[in-house]
Symmetry: C2
């Protein structure tokens, strides 16, 4: 046995200290270790909806052709398959309701990533020095808060209401930061624009326009960017079809738009994409070149085959149907079991995966509370505690 008492410690980087144990990994691990528990946490995709048949058909076709198969099993490029970027361009144009030629986006502004998570992370890397500021709609996607923390950035919460991010509060916060001499530390505004994780809310059309105007107006010394996370855009069950925040950024200079095939097709392939302002493409690709010099080519070629064979849109329709039923079941269960609880309220989302529920202040919901323990171990139900959706250093963080 080595004398471990004499073993000098590993000196980790400052950055490693920022990225302490992440709640997402804990939740995903819990979900896998407790298969009997009904998990309302961590955004796992509905098992029965996963496209086994479509994937089998697409891969059989791809690998039946020796040359296509070999190309798919070779390295790709850092930025991602050109042919897939072409298909993504068409998909994005369709979602925007604009002919692809009029979109005003070249294929050189599309970046393929390992899920949209990688784009969130790459963007944090290339934008934030420690102490730089990101304005986030609150509550927000807790994994993005971890990514900000991982680079030492500061998250400042902008409150939201039933119409999403409050643009008056956004403007007031920027005014205050300017008065405090901190405007030059503000790099980014982050929001989930469709059926927000976790609130379930979609920001109103007027406010979408206003967010872009506000970012432009306060871009004084440096540009203030907007990260529009549209992960759930295609999971629409009813209600309005909102225009993207991106569509209000005529010059394509302020909004980074990101979407993923994880929710609409399969998270097991981990393919996401970004529509990126021209001057951010090179820094993001340089960083990705260091990190992995390209996401798995085989998964990108699979997705091309799925799109080319017309397997994608029918699957999205199936997924919408499956989740609509689940949403309705969740809301019916809430009506049945939570209506009598004083102070309990919840949101009726038009799409996505999230129902945000608020309990009275007397009932804390975090990992170390009686509610969490009882839910997971006695009742067999796992949820995401709301406190995770606010920065841990927020003074009046909801519990």
């Amino acid at each position: 046995m080595p004398d471990t008492t004499a073993l000098p410690p590993v000196q980790l980087s400052q950055r490693a200290g920022y990225a302490k144990e992440q709640a997402i990994s804990f939740l995903m691990q819990q979900g896998i270790e407790n298969p009997g528990v009904i998990s309302l946490a961590a955004g796992f995709v509905d098992f029965a909806s996963l496209p086994v048949r479509e994937t089998r058909e697409a891969l059989a076709s791809l690998l039946a052709d020796m040359t296509k198969g070999q190309q798919a099993l070779q390295y790709g490029t850092t930025q991602g398959s050109l042919r897939l970027r072409h298909r993504v361009h068409e998909l994005f144009a369709r979602l925007e309701g604009v002919p692809a030629k009029e979109l005003g986006v070249g294929l050189d502004r599309i970046l393929m990533t390992t899920g949209s998570q990688q784009l969130l992370s790459l963007l944090c890397e290339v934008l934030f020095n420690p102490g730089d500021i990101c304005l986030v709609s609150g509550p927000t996607y807790f994994v993005f808060l971890a990514a900000l923390q991982g680079v030492g950035a500061q998250a400042i919460v902008i409150p939201s209401d039933e119409d999403g991010l409050r643009t008056d509060a956004l403007d007031a916060t920027l005014q205050q930061l300017d008065a405090d001499g901190k405007l030059d530390r503000v790099k980014l505004i982050y929001l989930v624009s469709y059926y927000e994780n976790p609130s379930g809310i979609s920001i109103s059309t007027d406010r979408r326009r206003e967010v872009v105007e506000i970012a432009r107006r306060w871009s004084k010394q440096q540009r203030i960017l907007i990260l529009e996370d549209a992960a759930y855009r295609e999971l629409r069950y009813d209600g309005p079809q909102w225009p993207s925040v991106w569509s209000f950024d005529a010059g394509g200079e302020h909004v980074i738009y990101t979407q993923t095939f994880s929710k609409s097709f399969s998270p097991g392939i981990r393919v996401g994409f970004g529509i990126i302002p021209t001057d951010l493409i090179a820094p993001l690709c340089d960083r990705k070149g260091n990190d992995d010099f390209g996401s798995p080519n085989l998964m990108q070629q699979l997705l091309i085959e799925v799109l080319d064979r017309g397997l994608y849109e029918p699957h999205v329709a199936e997924v919408q149907s499956a989740y609509r039923i689940k949403r309705d079941a969740m809301l019916a269960a809430a009506d049945e079991f939570f209506s009598d609880i004083p102070g309990a309220t919840w949101v009726h989302p038009h799409g996505g995966l999230y129902v945000w529920m608020t309990l009275s202040h007397e009932i804390p919901t975090g990992f170390n509370t009686p509610l969490w323990t009882s839910a997971v171990h006695d009742e067999g139900v796992m949820y995401v505690p709301g406190e995770l959706s606010y920065p841990s250093d927020m003074p009046d963080r909801p519990r």
Copy 2:
């Protein structure tokens, strides 16, 4: 048209400035854009050897079972599939020539990554503050130099000879760094232990032992780690079977061992792994949790199927045969065309993908030289200029 003259610039992070345009992306792009050119650059895998049949068989089997298919299309975990880590454990034991039970490595010390490149990058992130030092064998893998540069770390070259990294020079450099008060900035020693990229050399057995002893001896304030990049270990054509550097680290505390399935199976699936000292697993997983919370599960499940169906080892044997022929052809061509060139020498490698050739000092070989231009555009042959294999700030960098 927006008034772009008035557009304030994006203020990138300090770190984005470190990661300027990477040679790997340039070379890979060149290879793809010039399919007619014979590429001796960028480590692309031999096209004809890519395992289309094996992949088709494994995926058909995986996706024929609805439940297995759904599991493969779901999210995995940040650290990687437990079942795949079990298979990797068995593979590693076989390579080490030790029964799996006697390996002394738990599955919790294995990390699955997007190619071994991601492990190199994650390790840079969690270890290096700007100005920290990594000792590298010279010439070395130029993409790792870029990863070091990307976090602001300093690479110091330790010269190598026909027996690999010169351990006397390693010891002397550490002594000098200690004298200069810089020993506490030394975090890592990096080497490619089998058929080194780019030298083709494998470090001798005695020096493998000495590297570990030296790292241990100079671990005073903090531990000096060794990153053993064994990417080419299984591409052995003849010659000795060297023990790993890892095998000399009885406590498993100094050596991070990494290997990839990119060269031995397919780079299109981007699956690599690391055998990690216990106290580094959590920081690496935390970082990976931020970056992508897990490499594509479908690719990991594919690899399990390939290993379980006995498709892997026969394929490795095929790959060895294919590359042995290519190596012999390269060496025969060198004999035929370069023997008469004064000062031209080259290495006869026993495995891997690299033949390192040295020309006289009067013939510079970089991207902007007559040789490169003539080779790529007139002769249709692409190579990796040797200067890339040394840090760009090295005073007497070979040209």
